[in-house]
Structure formats: structure tokens, C-alpha cells
């Protein structure tokens, strides 16, 4: 699936929820499926500090594709990271660097990616794309 197709699939899934509670319960569940960052990478260099919650992010280049792993101290943040990783992981550095992420807005989670939330997610998206740019030199 392309990055765009994956995003459309998520939008379809979220359109089935009738209220915010179902949506957040699903996000919390998704957090449990997050490909967790290996303990050795959970270092201060890999921390993306938000005022509210923090995020650890690591990326490997496997057969020309980026594989992201991450963690967060807050479960809702973890669920949203899980969504972001499911969309961007397994794609080439170029695809990641150029990806246009429209699904967050469409599933009503836009406020979580605004600078005012200060939960580390906005910086995390930037960091994922930076990995895309950095790895382009390696492939």
C-alpha cells in the first residue's frame, strides 16, 4: 500500500466511530501495538521533549526502507505515534521525506499535532521526515 492508501484506510476506519469515546478507546488500543523502541535506543539523543508528554523515536534502514520504532510516556500520544508509524514505516526515504500527512486532520486529531499542544508529536513528524532526508543519502 502507498502512504496515501494507508491514510485513506485509517480515515475509513475512523469514520465508523459514532462518538469521541470510541475513537479515543481505539487510539489507546493502538498504543499497545506500537513497535516499541529497543531499550538501547531509548537515550537522551532520541528523546523528543514536549512540555506535556515525551516521545522517543528511532529509525533503521532495512533493504532500502525506513523502519521506525518509538515510545511515549502518555498512552494517547503512543496511540497517535502508532498511527504515524503504521503510515510511514516500510517506505523508502524519499517517500517518507515527501509524504503529505492528511489523515490526522481528517480523523479529528488535528489539535494533537498543533504546536500549542506541546506533546512532542509535531516535532516527531518533523524528525521522521528528517530521517527520510538523511537516509536518502544512504540509498
Amino acid at each position: 500500500m502507498t502512504i496515501e492508501e494507508k491514510q485513506n484506510q485509517i480515515i475509513d476506519e475512523f469514520s465508523m466511530f459514532s462518538d469521541w469515546m470510541e475513537k479515543y478507546e481505539y487510539i489507546i488500543e493502538l498504543g499497545k501495538d506500537l513497535p516499541l523502541i529497543d531499550a538501547q535506543y531509548k537515550t537522551p539523543e532520541n528523546i523528543i521533549k514536549g512540555c506535556q508528554s515525551q516521545v522517543w523515536l528511532h529509525a533503521d534502514l532495512v533493504d532500502g526502507k525506513i523502519v521506525f520504532t518509538a515510545d511515549s510516556d502518555a498512552v494517547i500520544t503512543k496511540g497517535i505515534i502508532s498511527l504515524l508509524i503504521s503510515v510511514l514505516s516500510g517506505h523508502s526515504p524519499k517517500e517518507v521525506a515527501e509524504a503529505e500527512l492528511f489523515f490526522i486532520d481528517k480523523i479529528g486529531l488535528k489539535e494533537h499535532l498543533s504546536p500549542t499542544r506541546s506533546n512532542g508529536l509535531l516535532s516527531m513528524v518533523k524528525q521522521m521526515k528528517m530521517y527520510g532526508i538523511a537516509f536518502q543519502a544512504k540509498v
Binding site: W20, C51, A74, V75, I76
Partner: protein, 413 residues
């Protein structure tokens, strides 16, 4: 009016009518605003004062010869006198308009230190201070080669007078401490601290940002040297705050900033500074802010501190009792002398998650370290969820909040 509301000493429905912002819905639910420690909402009298100023007499103040300027100047100086009365200051020259508490503390940390702090001198603060009563003193210490000492915070969120006494030495020049903690709610024994400090010739600065609208403050009776507070936390606008300081001290302190209004005469060879209070008010001030904060002070006085304190205690006790009954809740700050602030955590649920779910329910609380990172380190926690109450909050709102916390706990556990 139902039974729960009857417990309160005043008709809150009438008070709420004066706060138009409170009647809106957030995420489909009636807004419950429990983030008053961060900023309070504004009553119509304050909003109208701002509106009226810009519609009818906006003009720059001091030295103007025309009608509007005279009118604006009179209103601004009248506002200063209203604040003077509100806090019981002896002279109007002792009331300095600043941008807020942070600005007021920075003024003292800068100007007082320049005049009175020398190498090796000591400044005492407490472990529960807001960053705005920590960082300016750290900067002053760096500049003056002085030493910062910190009164430890006990497990219940109080400080002990013994610890204060132990920290004082013959090098102590000033004690800067919060009247009421923004994170823990603790009301500090400032009367005792001021009296100890005074007996040893040590100056005192009280950060009154969280206290000024919850308890009567009389600076003359307190006998503190400085008292700082913000307009926006006392039902007034943002961008304006007040620094009270004793006249004789202000006279010995150099100006904080240079510019218009703070001078008598300027030549390239020598500038003569203006008298108090203008010496500390460089540039065009926040004129409408000063006028509106005085209006807020009048509004508070019209409610009265007896009523305010009864309401605060009622709502604090009710919410504390209900919240404590939820399994896994731990309240940080359990002093018996508390303002209406509850900081808490539930088991290992992250404050951000809890705050996010409550927001979905239309409940505004604050989550995070509340600009008191050293205090969070002291309790070894990343942050808390903080509910802080104001005069327009009701016990019914507390009920909805408690249900919300239970719902969030279920979702997040």
C-alpha cells in the same frame, strides 16, 4: 437551585451571568473552567471598562494638554489609587504598574540586587516557587556573584519555619517566597517569615499571584517590602501586573528600564530620573490594563473576601473529598492551609492523557509541571493534573468533573 448549590454562600447563577464566556459549549458539553490558576475569566465590568476606554477616551497619558489625554491620565492614576486601597498601601507612589508578576519580580531582582546585593550575599527562595520567582534570582545571583538558597518543601506541601531559620545567615539579603503555591495550593506562613526577616534586617518579596483574589492582602499590616501580582489571575486583563514596594526602598533602587516617562530631564551629558512611581514605568504603559485591573479589584471587593473564602473552602473541601474517594488518586499538596487548588495523579496514568480525556468532556484543567519543575523533581513526578477554582465555579461542576475523572480512569487503566 438544587441542594448542592445551596451549600454555597452566594447565588452563583447571578455571578455566572457576569461571565459571558462561561455559557459556551466545548466539544458538545457545557464548558467547565477549572484552569483558574493559569488565568481567570473576566466579568462584564472589566470587559466594559476596556471597551469604554477604547470607544471614548483612548489617549496617551501624562504631560498631554488635550481633553482625552487628561481624562486617560486621571483614570490611570485613579486606578493606581484603587489598587493602593485594595492592598492597603500607605502611599500611591508605592504602586508600580508592571506587565505582570514575572515582570514585577524581574524588576526587583534586577534593581534591588544592583543596589543591595554584593559578592557572597545570599538570597532565599522556597522549593515550591514558580519559575518566575526562581530564574530572575538565579540571574541576579550570577550577576552579583551571590548565592541562592532554597527552603525545602515537606511531604504535605508545606515549609517549616525551622528550616527558614536554619537557612538565614548574616549574609541573607532578601527572602522571596510565594504567598500561595500555584501547584500545591499551600498558603505559606508569610506573616511569620516577614517578621523573622524584619528582625534580622532582611528584605522580603511576596509573590501574590495566586493569593491576591482569594484572601484579603494588606501590605502595611504584612509589613513586607515587596508584593507582586498579576491582573489576569484576579479577573482582570493580561499584560498588566502590580509591584508594591516600600517607598524608602524604591528610592534607593536604580531604574529597571530607561525611556520615556521615567525621566525628569534628558541631556546627552546627564539624565535626571523621574520621581516614584514613574521612575519604574518607562515607556507608554498598558493604560487600559491599569484601568481594567482596578475595575477587577473593585469587582472582587463588591463580592467581598468573606464570601470568596467561604466559597473557596466549600468547593475545595467538596472536591477534595470526592476526588480522594476515587481509588488510586494521590493529591499533591495536602496542607490544611490551602487555596482552592488540587494537584493530583491517578495510579500511573499520565497527566496528559487524563487532561486530554477531560477536554473531550468540556472540562478545562491544566496538566504538566505548572512552571514548577524543581517541585516536580522534589516529588519525583513528571507533572500533575491541576483543578483550580474561582468564584464562578459550582459544586455541580465538581460533580461533572468527578464523573469525568472516573470515566477517564476507566478508559486509561
Amino acid at each position: 437551585m438544587n441542594k448542592v448549590a445551596d451549600k454555597l454562600p452566594i447565588d452563583i447563577t447571578e455571578i455566572r451571568k457576569q461571565f459571558p464566556i462561561l455559557s459556551q459549549k466545548v466539544n458538545g458539553n457545557p464548558l467547565i473552567y477549572f484552569d483558574n490558576g493559569a488565568t481567570t475569566q473576566k466579568p462584564l465590568s472589566v470587559i466594559n471598562a476596556i471597551d469604554n476606554y477604547y470607544k471614548t477616551y483612548n489617549s496617551n497619558i501624562h504631560r498631554g494638554v488635550h481633553h482625552l489625554s487628561v481624562k486617560a491620565t486621571e483614570a490611570y492614576e485613579e486606578a493606581r489609587r484603587t489598587i493602593q486601597q485594595f492592598i492597603g498601601a500607605e502611599h500611591e507612589e508605592e504602586i508600580i504598574f508592571a506587565k505582570g508578576t514575572t515582570d514585577a519580580i524581574n524588576l526587583v531582582a534586577h534593581s534591588f540586587s544592583k543596589a543591595f546585593i554584593h559578592e557572597g550575599d545570599e538570597i532565599i527562595i522556597s522549593g515550591m516557587e514558580h519559575h518566575s520567582n526562581i530564574v530572575p534570582w538565579q540571574m541576579a545571583c550570577e550577576e552579583r556573584k551571590a548565592v541562592l538558597k532554597v527552603i525545602p518543601v515537606l511531604d504535605n506541601g508545606e515549609i517549616s519555619i525551622d528550616d527558614v531559620q536554619k537557612l538565614i545567615s548574616d549574609k541573607t539579603k532578601i527572602i522571596a517566597i510565594t504567598h500561595s503555591s500555584n501547584t500545591l495550593g499551600t498558603n505559606n506562613p508569610i506573616e511569620e517569615i516577614i517578621s523573622i526577616a524584619k528582625s534580622k534586617g532582611i528584605k522580603t518579596l511576596i509573590d501574590g499571584a495566586q493569593a491576591i483574589h482569594h484572601q484579603p492582602v494588606n501590605v502595611k499590616e504584612l509589613d513586607c517590602d515587596f508584593y507582586a501580582f498579576s491582573g489576569h489571575k484576579m479577573y482582570g486583563p493580561t499584560g498588566v501586573g502590580i509591584l508594591y514596594g516600600k517607598q524608602e526602598l524604591f528610592k534607593k533602587m536604580p531604574p529597571y528600564q530607561g525611556g520615556g516617562d521615567m525621566i525628569k530631564t534628558v541631556t546627552f551629558e546627564k539624565t535626571i530620573y523621574n520621581d516614584l512611581p514613574h521612575k519604574f514605568e518607562a515607556g507608554t504603559p498598558n493604560i487600559v490594563g491599569g484601568i481594567a485591573v482596578a475595575e477587577a479589584a473593585k469587582w472582587i471587593s463588591s463580592i467581598g473576601f468573606d464570601t470568596i473564602q467561604q466559597h473557596d473552602n466549600e468547593i475545595l473541601n467538596y472536591a477534595t473529598e470526592k476526588l480522594s474517594a476515587i481509588e488510586g488518586v494521590k493529591i499533591y499538596g495536602t496542607s490544611k492551609k490551602k487555596g482552592p487548588v488540587i494537584s493530583f495523579l491517578i495510579d500511573n496514568i499520565h497527566p496528559f492523557d487524563l487532561g486530554t480525556i477531560l477536554d473531550q468532556l468540556g472540562i478545562a484543567v491544566r496538566t504538566g509541571h505548572h512552571c514548577t519543575e524543581p517541585l516536580m523533581d522534589r516529588f519525583k513526578i513528571p507533572g500533575t493534573v491541576r483543578a483550580s477554582f474561582a468564584i464562578y465555579n459550582t459544586l455541580e461542576e465538581v460533580d461533572v468533573f468527578i464523573d469525568g475523572v472516573k470515566k477517564a480512569k476507566k478508559m486509561l487503566s
